[in-house]
Symmetry: C2
């Protein structure tokens, strides 16, 4: 199967590309490297050091003999997108190439406009390329629920559903919960294959941040009452879900939605679990929330269709947490405490960018 | 009341500006004149001749002594939008400045991208201008249900609701039905004040097209079974609804939705009503539909909150239809038959632009 991973240099895109390559897919990656640029802009970095894409791809070839092609460019450039689809002739396109962080889009007007234009125009170009070049390609896309597990301001899904109905495209939309963890079978083969581990207030996910706070002996900071329930998923299940979705494609004209999450917990419960699992005593501290969200909202995760396709979920376990504590401990000298404080106040129309930059 | 009408040179924007001016509002219009540019692009024109905005505004001043300020520019230009809001200091912003025609957005990739960027970035800039300059401004916005009465691919509403909740903005979203008619009390004062009367396959509305077909003695062309039910509203009620919404603003932090429609009929019933009201015998012809829509979908119009605010609806009557027949008859020499044929096939990714252009 020929699979093109859009945003294949990112936190999930990279391990997904490796997982599919490992399972015999002929994989190509498209990326414009803007995720690395956000780090420079915000003055933050991944806790675990990551290699440039050319080093990653070379290491993978060296270790496995498998080639991953790279298309360097921007999906909002239609010529690039059409050219890539014509050239690589994918059977499946896995789309991780949207700006996913709600706090990033809320920094100010420019970041809101950038996020919308990047996400909407990029996805429209992909859909039109599929419509014009090959209507049989299966699109597997991460829903804008994103890693935050909260329904975001949702746009592209309407267009995707429309093009499935009108052009007969195939699409799988993955409503993804909060992803935790940093290693998959493939990335663990060599440090050069490591993926990001974000803990900053803009792109970091809450579970990763709690792990780092616990390792540093800091209180785990919960915003609001922590009563909001979130869907969760282990990064190893994320990449396996993507593989299952690609290998069991949606039918022509079908817009299929899967809930890509395997358990649900409140933020307070996540903090409690991590505090309890950590050997030394760790406190949980409740702070005023920078977001404007209902504190205890109704949350019902419909059982994911992915288990029917063969997913065997990794639930949040002591073993996983121990491995995360070890990763965080190994890189504790790289932690930038300033990066963890929320700097984007959603009630303001302009915010400092966070991290150590001002 | 200081009211800024965005898109105030258009079919509804212009009569709305006049209606508000007539009722004592201090009105300003913003427009980039792109609606007139679409006519040139598509090779079509309004059945009723319309004057340039500077002539319209001068005629209004001559007849009533009332001034309407004009801001000529594009909402996607944030500097323009912020400058205008700072300069005019509106209490209400009425927003008609989105590209509203689904068939226009479906011409090809460029038109889809243009529509999304224009609508999303334009509206984001307006919201940020309100958030930064004056959070007390009341936004009255036409929902993307638009004049077609069909739920369109909806985007901006999510952002508007979000900014109401987060920044305490006030907004009224008008879910508008198909607008019919061409004259209001104000536009009827002088031919120089006339608004557009569109009958082309891209921007025209179905009732207007049926009226012209009846006057020409052509069959009224219904696509599909005509079973789709639509909400309808007279143009005189549209402008009155806007006035009522502006003079009874939403509360701070409130995102209010009104159904701006006064009756509902199926397309086949509209055709039948027009055929019966027209003196000479007119046939109804059923053609294959260029759109991809469920033929008989569930449609339930919740009673509009606008009647509670004092709206006295004009229902589709013999008198209104007679006046429309007279308008169409007076301009029958301007009818371009080619413009009425649908040229945008939603199943294609690229379409001719319609009208007499190729």
């Amino acid at each position: 199967m020929r699979t093109l991973v859009l945003g294949g240099d990112g936190y999930l895109g990279w391990p997904t590309a490796l997982h599919l390559s490992q399972h015999g897919h002929d994989v190509a990656i498209a990326d414009n490297f803007v995720r690395r640029q956000y780090d420079h802009e915000l003055g933050v970095h991944s806790l675990v050091p990551i290699e440039p894409l050319h080093t990653r791809v070379a290491a993978w070839r060296e270790l496995t003999g498998k080639d991953i092609a790279v298309f360097s460019g921007d999906l909002t450039d239609a010529e690039f997108t059409y050219g890539m689809v014509r050239d690589f002739q994918p059977e499946t396109i896995v789309h991780f190439a949207e700006q996913r962080a709600a706090p990033y889009s809320m920094i100010d007007r420019q970041h809101a406009v950038y996020t919308q234009v990047n996400n909407v125009v990029g996805t429209l170009n992909v859909l039109y390329a599929m419509g014009e070049i090959d209507r049989d390609i299966h699109l597997v896309k991460l829903g804008t629920m994103g890693e935050y597990g909260t329904p975001n301001i949702d746009i592209e899904e309407g267009y995707i559903e429309f093009t499935c109905r009108t052009w007969g495209l195939r699409a799988t939309d993955l409503n993804q919960g909060i992803v935790y963890g940093q290693q998959t079978d493939a990335t663990a083969l060599d440090p050069r294959l490591a993926t990001r581990f974000d803990y900053d207030a803009v792109f970091g996910t809450v579970l990763n941040r709690f792990v780092i706070q616990a390792v540093l002996g800091h209180p785990l900071t919960v915003y609001g009452s922590g009563g909001q329930t979130r869907g969760l998923i282990d990064i190893r299940d994320t990449v396996e879900c993507i593989r299952l979705a690609t290998e069991h494609p949606a039918a022509a004209g079908e817009f299929r939605v899967f809930n890509q999450m395997t358990e649900s917990m409140s933020i307070a419960e996540i903090a409690k679990t991590i505090a309890e699992n950590h050997g030394e005593s760790v406190e949980v501290e409740y702070l005023e929330g920078p977001r404007v969200e209902a504190d205890q909202h109704y949350y019902h995760v419909v059982h994911t269709g992915l288990v029917d396709l063969g997913l065997e979920p990794h639930l949040l376990s002591d073993t996983l947490l121990e491995s995360l504590f070890a990763i965080a401990a190994a890189h504790r000298d790289r932690v930038d405490l300033a990066a963890m404080r929320p700097t984007v106040n959603w009630r303001e129309t302009a915010n400092p960018r966070g991290g150590s930059w001002r």
